[in-house]
Structure formats: C-alpha cells, structure tokens
C-alpha cells in the first residue's frame, strides 16, 4: 500500500460546487466543503436532505452532475484506483455476503485491497470490533448490530486514510448503538479523516471537529466545535431546518 500522502494541501477532503440531479429532482445544489487531515466532519440534516448522495459522491460511487472532489489532493476523476485504496465507506447496508462467514467476507475484501499479511490484519480488526467469538459464523446469522460491527471491520481492513460513515448507528438497538459509539470514538484516532452523517445530535457533537447542516441539497449552517461550545445546538438545528419549511 502506498502511504505517501502528498502534502501540498492541508485538506483531506475538498469538494467544490457539487451538484447532483436525478431526473427532475435536484438532490444537491452546489456543495462546498473542506475537511482538514485527521479531523472529523459531521453532517446533520433531515431525511432527503442529500446526505447519502453527498457521501456517495465523495466516495467515488456516484459521479456528480457538476463540481469536483479532491481527496488527499487528488482529483477523484484522475486516479480512481489510487483514491479508492485510501478511502472506505460504511453505509446503512453492510455490503457483507450473508452466506459467507465474517472471516471469509473480510478475506474477500482484504484480497480486493491487496492487504498485506491479511490473516494477522483480520485478527487485529476483529478484536478491535470485539467480534472474535463470531468470526466463523455466517454473516447472515448475525444480528444487525453485530453485522454493523463486521462492516466496520471490513471498512478499516485496508487502513484507509479517509473514512465515510453514512448513519452508522441507524436501526440499531441501544446496546448495539453504544457499542458502535465506542468504535466511532476510536476510529478517528491518529491521522484518519472521518466524514459522517447522523441523526444522533449528541453523538455527532461529541465526535465532530466541525459540523454542517444539510437541507434540501444545500449547506445551511456550518460551525466548528469551538464556535458551538456552550450553544444549544438542538435549538439551532430545529431553527435552521424548520425555517422555510
């Protein structure tokens, strides 16, 4: 794996004028955002605000109708393979194959990313998400919470420098959610950059170095952690997402 991150820019994620139209629906109408290396950006917003579409564009899954994205200072259109090696996405779908065991799933994705010393790395990530005891169970037999943990293990297998998380704790019971929170707190450690969307205001505020609120395809509010300290964010959130509705 090539780890040489170019240092000409301080931005890990830099998006300019992102627009996306699906048929007659404008999902995104000009998004600009930047995330510094090693920081965590949390994206809030009501359902249908365009959060998932934005994450899919940032992670190369969807091409924007207009605008450009640079990750680690490389335009994602230029070297998709190089970009994909550095990033990862945890969606509300786990991408796991139900009939393969957790181990086999991890082995499959590990090989696709050319992970060196794969079995050792699998043991590492599995112990990180505390899934050792279920390693050889089929993914389909795991509960939603456990599957989500396996999905986290899959996502960090190739040690991505940028991680995209799309509502990682949606549909989880409180216990599993707490577990995921723990994982989330440790995921941002080191130089890893995280961009995540969530409905969970408390959790998002705790993790985010900066936050933005997305509504109807636009960034309607942005602030850093310092700017927010002491403010009643829930009030701000409600105020911003309800005006004009």
């Amino acid at each position: 794996m090539d780890k040489d991150i170019p240092t000409s820019s301080t931005w890990a994620v830099e998006a300019r004028g992102i627009e996306k139209t699906f048929g007659e629906m404008r999902a995104l109408r000009g998004i600009d955002l930047t995330v510094s290396r090693g920081e965590c950006l949390v994206i809030f917003g009501p359902n249908g605000a365009g959060k998932t579409t934005l994450l899919k564009i940032l992670s190369t899954l969807i091409k924007p109708s207009a605008g450009s994205v640079r990750l680690d200072d490389i335009d994602i259109r230029d070297k998709p393979a190089q970009i994909r090696r550095r990033i990862s996405l945890v969606g509300n779908q786990t991408f796991l194959y139900d009939n393969l065991t957790v181990f086999e799933n991890l082995k499959f994705y590990g090989k696709m990313y050319d992970v060196a010393d794969l079995e050792k790395r699998i043991r590492e990530v599995v112990s990180w998400v505390q899934l050792e005891s279920r390693l050889h169970d089929r993914a389909g037999t795991l509960s939603r919470g456990l599957q989500q943990r396996a999905s986290f293990a899959r996502a960090v297998l190739h040690d991505p420098s940028i991680l995209f998380l799309d509502e990682p704790d949606v549909g989880l019971d409180p216990h599993a959610s707490a577990m995921v929170s723990e994982i989330l707190e440790s995921i941002n450690s080191g130089s890893r950059t995280v961009v995540m969307t969530t409905h969970n205001l408390e959790q998002g505020l705790e993790l985010g170095d900066s936050i933005i609120i997305l509504d109807r395809g636009r960034v309607i509010y942005e602030a850093s952690r310092q700017e927010l300290s002491g403010a009643d964010f829930r009030q701000i959130y409600n105020q911003y997402t309800e005006t004009g509705r």
Binding site: T21, F22, G23, E24, R26
Partner: protein
C-alpha cells in the same frame, strides 16, 4: 428553433418533397416493368431504400452512442434515440413489405433469408433498446444503458447476417435481377434511396428535437420547483 435551423429544415423538407415526387413518378411511370416477375417487382424500389434506411439508422445510433459515452453530451443521446425510433419504424416496414413481395413471387409469406431474418433480429434488439429506455429507473441511466445496447447491438449485425446466410441460403436478388439491373432501374433505385435518406434525416431532426424539448421541460420543472 432559431432562423438558421428553420431555413435548413425548410430546404430539407423542400428537397425531400421534390425527391419523393420524383421517386413516385419514376417508380410508377418512368421505369419499365421488369419482364420476369412483372409489376410486383416495383415494390423493390421502396423495399430496398426502406431497408437501407433502417441499417443506416442503426449505424448512426452506433456512432452516436459511442460519442455519447465518450463526450457525455445529451445531443448525441437524443440523436441515438431518435435514430432508433426511426430505424425501428423502417425495420417494421421492411418486415411488412418483405412478405407482401414474397407472397406473389415465391408463394410464401415468410422466408428465412439472411436479409429478412437479420432485419427481424435487429427489430427485436432495438425494441429491447426502447424498452430499456422507458424502464430505466432514471433518465440519465436510461441514456447510458441504451448507448451500451446501441453499441453491442450493432456489432451483432454482421455476425447475425453471416450466420443466417450459412444457415439458410436463399438469395432473392438472383431472381429479381435475372436480366441484370438496367440503367432506368438503377436510376429509379438511386432516386428512391436519396428520397428515403432525406426523409430519414428529417425524421431524426424532428424526433431528436422532441428529446431536447423534453429535457427543456425537465429543466423548467426544476426551476419551477425552486
């Protein structure tokens, strides 16, 4: 439509109209009746140009589809799709006039001859093209998928033709042209081909213009929704 386009279209319509009148005159009055098969041979002068236009249409779709995937300009998609529409209509005409011609000459409606069978297979492929377009979950996807079908469908043409030719060999041309293609016959054929080609161009301009209008409607609806 600006003035330049209107002028071009006017000239094309005029030319097409004149050519069609000339073609009708040549087919029914000018050209002598062919000796062996009689008056029915006159279907030839329209059947062949219609078949030519349908192949031309799918070829244009093939080229526009490549250009669309390469350049991603909607005009190429509009041309590709309009050309398939016209091509399918003309292929339908080939498949109808072919049997009408075959029945009095050979006493059978359908013959699995290479040309007719290739037309039938093409018809099925491009019907699928139009279906995918209308059943795609989103217009942009429909455009991309149909471009792919426009490419892989067209490269099937020579293979299908070759295969069917090997499979059932029955050559209608040898029967029609027993006396060779005389000069008046050739002249008539060429005028008819020219007339139908101009008609094809006109129909594609008209039909792709509608695609552009549909895109404009989508754009306006977005603005209105703001």
């Amino acid at each position: 439509m600006n003035g330049k386009h209107a002028l071009r279209n006017g000239i094309l319509w005029g030319l097409g109209f004149a050519l069609m009148i000339a073609a009708l005159y040549m087919v029914f009055i000018y050209v002598p009746t062919e000796k062996h098969t009689g008056i029915i041979q006159r279907i030839f002068y329209f059947h062949v140009p219609v078949a030519w236009v349908s192949f031309l249409a799918f070829f244009i779709t093939f080229i526009s589809s490549i250009l669309y995937l390469w350049k991603r300009q909607t005009k190429w998609d509009a041309i590709a799709c309009a050309s398939v529409e016209v091509g399918v209509i003309f292929t339908t005409l080939v498949l109808i006039t072919g049997p009408i011609w075959a029945k009095p000459v050979w006493g059978i409606w359908w013959t699995w001859d290479a040309r007719l069978t290739t037309s039938l297979v093409l018809w099925l492929i491009y019907i699928a093209y139009l279906l995918v377009r209308s059943l795609a979950t989103e217009p942009a996807k429909g455009a991309r998928y149909s471009a792919v079908i426009g490419i892989v469908g067209f490269i099937d043409v020579p293979i299908v033709f070759l295969t069917v030719n090997m499979w059932r060999t029955q050559h209608p041309t040898t029967i029609i042209f027993e006396g060779g293609l005389t000069t008046p016959m050739l002249m008539t054929l060429l005028v008819c081909i020219a007339a139908f080609t101009v008609l094809y161009v006109l129909l594609v301009i008209q039909s792709s213009g509608l695609k552009t209008m549909e895109a404009e409607i989508r754009r306006l609806r977005i603005i209105k929704a703001e």
